[in-house]
Symmetry: C2
Subunit: 628 residues, 2 copies
């Protein structure tokens, strides 16, 4: 049962689709003291939730801050990532879920200050609190998901394997990537275009030198069953004569300063304005702009830099450049040196800058920080509303999000790194994102930042074949990460080929999760609630209805422990053609898993079917290859 | 058997104490091609070594660069930390160790480029290669350790618990820390003084306002069985009238620029010169300076910033400050913006700056980068040589090191963070440091950077009580980390109390490792070489002769798997007074371990003795409390 409570005078977010009456009396296990929500925890309680956040599936023992941020270093001390997903679910003597609906900053102290206490605090004390009680975690979640509406499901081809890099700088590079995949028989469905396909980083433009005759190029690729997926950024370059800029200025579509001038910020193109996506007229206008690329044959997009990420505001940049000259000729001791360095480092994504911008939202003027967490969500909504209007199945996923955005697109897990700990984070975050309805999600396989190693790529793909979004993406300046670049290419190919053998399963099970408001990837404890040990086992994941996986996520590991809550059939997979089967009993097992092997467990009484697969979704053979 | 090979014309490092004749013919499994050492690996081979480095005990699958660096963010992509420990040991069809003795940069590609290939490459192609072959890992290690000489062992009181913070800013703060420990019955032996005890960050000075009448204060603390351990930095403040500066200038003891002028760099005090520790006259001079503090009753020191860490060189700083003004009024697109930011970020610890400095070493002039990795080592040597000369038992540990430094002091593991992954890194690094002779070492318990949580402190102490150096240290701006600051203080106290019950064991076993050239902390595979499964189990550690530990190093874990290579007696410890005993059979076990519990396994046929312990080493009761 869901109950709604209202504190203060919250701003509408459109996260929730149902109208509920407002209750007065909170149950006694939730107290509001000094504007903070307090909940006591027992030693054995688990706190699930928060969607995109660092650390494990059980979020206890840290302080998380919902404040959409572009922070590319996802170490475990980071309280904020790109999203604001204010949902937690407590598995205690009583099971309940809490959704805090508010567009501004929320702090979840989940046993950080006091080990057995949850304290939720607010920058602005206006919010709706939804409390969901039911007898099982699955039921609570179902009610929550019904409250926030059905998740986005992309076209089936988007479940193929995609290759990305910041950047493929011209057509020839893209063609080379496709050629190398095809000639090595590595399946591929998509090549992603990062910021360099645009002319001077201007949204809805093409660099006609490096990507000349773009429309024909899109067609040519499509013939090879490759779709190109361009990136769209939030900021609009300030440039006389550039239509998006000119229209935005003319119609007052951009965020302003307090004095009403459009605020000047810096992103890829240098000086930009930011569209006021919260305004429905702006969304309608910006959404239509995607048609420029749809007309050229494009069927998918990724929305980026929409936290919004800001390299600088022009005013602060000028101030800092002035101040810096004053250091010349002085002795820079520790205090002065770090002051100097901080001035430069805090130019980017400075929370103070968010207080200098203004929106025009639902007929009122709001300072940006008050509605900050809705920005990326509404950029995705701009696109999604337009795609719905033209009734086209378009791939759409975003970096920043808020609950509600899950109805318009998926998300990727942001700018992770080629770290083994980020393979584990990928696993944990996938589960937490499934909870809150972002079923279509995935991380940059192999890691975006820093350099990937052959074995990390291998282990990461072994997990990545189970995530709906399966994309290999890497950053400028890092080691090339296309699978054919590695000495173990053949092993990597075997794994990707296997994806296409189970792609129907992944698509069907994802679709079911969308339609039934369930989780496609989930912890054991959700299905085996009575087996208390499953609450401890967070590195085994249920994938759809039939299988469980137990990935290896540590370097140089050649085996791992697996706990089976019931008898299961273990598949030790090297490739589609090399699978060893064995039935294992309920209980603990130590299992050898060499680098070229991964484990799938078929649950008792379930079947799991491999198809013939192929080199792309459009060309694959869905007849049965083998059944387990 | 050890064989020595000489390539080029290497510079003496004094890492090795034995004279060996130079061999010509390398065995066929080691090839030198294009100035690179090549070794092929089999899938199952393990590569141990490298001492202070990121990642696990098995170093395979990454590229490590021996290049002493002050990098405070120990993420797994960092190739260099504070030390240069050029020793690796390969457990293959053949077992062998390799020590590369050279003072400049060495790159160890251990399966990064090609998964089954080691490639060792050099910035300067002059080095001695020592190859050690024996039938067991233990024998190889023993021979290596005999080659490099006996490890440093500090006085026994240094095995007590120490509390540190950057910084305790005055006497009153230090007294408060001591008082709070004593009144809460938390044992304590040392309080560390970070940079703020000095006057304007000048080595061998005292801030006479904040630490007035320092000598009496040291005595007063000593009466409470507390020793104060001040930090010493490498850089010497440029200040007219400051004796260390004046003497250094007068005697040409500082690093110079190519033109012979003393090079001006920036560290805590602002502009500094760096002593040329490689020069024996400078070491003698600097070593004597410690007497200033010894005269005040000080018995221990930590040497810091000796990679050397450089915030800036004055010349580059001025250049950058000039350049930065040119950005004003221009459009900072991606290229220009990151160029601007990089100019500021690369001011610190810039490898190019190391090419601007010159040493006077063994009668010759050397550019710093050629002998870079010897700098911190020789700072420690300066202190150690002096302490030996005055025949005093002094606690000494350093941040930067090279093999050879282990004869003069211990090291700490550098500026880690309050991350669970750094608790695991602490475990792995401790083992790798034991290999190369840095037996006396430890990490900042609870983590130096970022904010510690109560549960992390608890789990970290549960491991930390087994490390010879047991110090809680945290950085400016982070959450207070003294154990009495946490809601679970009593549990934390129980753990520290337990340390004092096993302190005799830890001291005795450390001493044995020093005397016998063995490892105090070591992986299972070293003692159970015939049990191949132990090669996989890297998160259980043998501690001295009698016990094995199996720490919990992941948040919210309430149990773990343990593999026993033979029957062992398991102790589940809550406190000295609350220990559950159980004999477990050889094999795999899943064991529940609540947050307030940790595991000790007493090996078959061995005994393990708890003493009564106490509140400090000087006051503790070494009579037997309980035997297992």
């Amino acid at each position: 049962m869901i109950k709604k409570y209202r504190i203060g005078n919250p701003i509408e977010t459109f996260a929730v689709l149902k109208e509920l009456k407002i209750e007065k009396e909170l149950p006694e296990y939730i107290k509001i003291v000094d504007n903070k929500i307090n909940i006591s925890l027992n030693d054995s309680d688990i706190v699930y939730g928060l969607g995109q956040a660092v650390r494990g599936i059980n979020k206890r023992g840290y302080k998380y801050i919902s404040n959409t941020s572009d922070d590319p270093v996802h170490t475990e001390d980071k309280g904020s990532l790109y999203a604001a997903h204010n949902y937690i679910m407590i598995d205690s003597f009583k099971k309940f879920g809490i959704f805090i609906d508010t567009p501004s900053k929320v702090t979840f102290d989940l046993g950080y200050t006091d080990i057995n206490k949850i304290e939720i605090s607010f920058e602005y004390n206006d919010y709706d609190l939804y409390l969901i009680e039911a007898s099982s975690l699955v039921d609570i979640l179902k009610e929550f998901r019904e409250l926030i509406g059905k998740s986005y499901l992309p076209p089936k081809w988007a479940f193929g394997y995609g290759q990305s890099r910041w950047s493929y700088f011209n057509k020839e590079e893209v063609k080379e990537v496709v050629k190398k995949h095809r000639e090595n028989n590595i399946p591929l469905d998509m090549v992603y275009l990062d910021i360099d396909y645009m002319k001077d980083y201007k949204d809805f433009t093409i660099d006609n030198e490096k990507f000349s005759d773009f429309e024909s190029f899109v067609k040519e690729m499509k013939k090879e069953n490759i779709r190109l997926i361009p990136i769209i950024d939030a900021g609009v370059k300030i440039e006389k004569g550039y239509d998006v800029y000119e229209e935005g200025v003319k119609n007052s579509y951009f965020l302003t300063k307090e004095n009403g001038d459009n605020i000047v910020c810096g992103v890829w193109p240098g000086d930009v304005h930011f569209p006021d996506f919260l305004n429905e007229n702006v969304r309608e206008w910006f959404g239509k702009k995607y048609q420029f690329l749809i007309d050229k044959g494009i069927e998918g997009f990724w929305n980026d830099m929409n936290e919004p990420a800001i390299f600088y505001t022009k005013d602060r940049l000028n101030e800092v450049l002035d101040k810096i000259t004053e250091y010349k000729g002085t002795n820079l001791d520790i205090h002065k040196f770090f002051e100097f360095k901080d001035r430069v480092l805090t130019l980017s994504n400075n929370n103070e800058d968010y207080k200098l911008m203004y929106h025009n939202y639902l007929g009122k003027r709001y300072r940006h920080d008050i509605v900050h967490n809705l920005y990326g969500y509404n950029m995705t909504k701009a696109a999604g509303e337009y795609f719905n209007k033209i009734n086209k199945e378009i791939l759409m996923f975003s970096r920043s999000s808020y609950i509600g955005a899950h109805r318009y697109g998926g998300i990727w897990q942001g700018d992770n790194s080629s770290w083994w700990s980020h393979l584990k984070l990928n696993m944990d975050m996938s589960v937490n994102l499934n909870m809150i309805g972002f079923i279509f999600n995935g991380a940059d396989l192999g890691g975006f930042g820093s350099n990937c190693t052959p074995d990390l790529m291998q282990r990461w793909l072994q997990f990545g074949i189970f995530t709906p979004l399966m994309r290999n993406h890497s950053a400028l300046g890092t080691r090339r990460q296309e699978v054919y670049e590695f000495s173990n290419m053949e092993k990597l190919r075997d794994i990707i080929e296997f994806r296409y053998s189970i792609l129907d399963y992944i698509y069907d099970e994802t679709k079911k999760a969308v339609e039934n408001n369930t989780m496609y990837l989930r912890p054991l404890a959700f299905d085996y609630e009575k087996d208390l040990l499953t609450r401890e086992i967070t590195d085994q994941i249920l994938v759809g209805d039939s299988i469980m996986i137990a990935p290896i996520y540590e370097q140089n590991k050649k085996g791992r422990y697996v706990y089976l809550p019931e008898d299961m059939k273990m598949l030790k997979v090297k490739s589609k053609n090399d699978i060893k089967e064995e039935v294992l009993k309920k209980g603990h097992h130590y299992i050898e898993v060499n680098l070229d092997e991964f484990l799938i467990f078929v649950r008792k009484g379930k079947t799991f079917t491999l198809k013939n697969g192929g080199q792309s979704v459009d060309s694959m053979d869905s007849s049965i290859f083998r059944e387990f």
